[in-house]
Amino acid sequence: MALNVGDEVGDLTFQKPDGGSIRLSDLTAPTLVLIFLRHLA
């Protein structure tokens, strides 16, 4: 089931280009803009 406005978002983990990982909790600003891209150019 897809997330809806108002839902709490889990601490998703993604891979960094250098091989490390980044979690949403690593980004600590008051708001987070998450942009899911289409294919890279």
Binding site: A2, L3, N4, V5, G6, D7, E8, V9, G10, D11, L12, F14, Q15, K16, P17, D18, G19, I22, L24, S25, L27, T28, A29, P30, T31, L32, V33, L34, I35, F36, L37, R38, H39, L40, A41
Partner: protein
């Protein structure tokens, strides 16, 4: 977006772009087109699925309205690039904003490839989120 990243920072917002391409592909892309914000990789598309981002069809891409919007972008200076082999051109994207408690406060799942919110729309959504926090 990358030209106006400072406006997001001024509003106290982080930006994270996520691609379904593997990390090495993202690294090569960033070597050619550096971004002022982090770009991460989600090759399993777990994030895409969590946020309900779907794939479109060739019919969805080649609809007259979508083709027309691409032509408009081209007329405004955007140039289409050749995609790398094996890039999934049918995967749709989306834009989301999370507040300080990591609750989803803004969601725009692209209905078709050119369906993205404007930077101004995103900035306004951040202001609203901050005011409600």
């Amino acid at each position: 977006m990358k030209d106006r990243h400072a406006e997001f920072q001024q509003l106290g917002s982080d930006v994270l772009a996520v691609s379904f391409s593997p990390p090495e592909r993202v690294a090569r892309y960033l070597d050619e087109s550096p971004m002022p914000f982090p770009v991460a990789s989600d090759p399993s598309r777990a994030g895409y699925q969590a946020f309900g981002l779907e794939r479109t069809t060739w019919g969805g891409i080649l609809r007259p309205g979508v083709v027309g919007r691409y032509l408009g972008l081209i007329l405004r200076g955007w140039l289409p690039h050749k995609t790398a082999r094996n890039e999934d051109v049918l995967q749709l994207g989306g834009d989301f904003i999370l507040n300080r408690r990591r609750r989803l406060v803004f969601a725009r799942r692209s209905a078709e490839p050119t369906d993205r919110p404007s930077v101004n729309e995103l900035l306004q959504a951040i202001r609203v989120a901050a005011a409600l926090d």
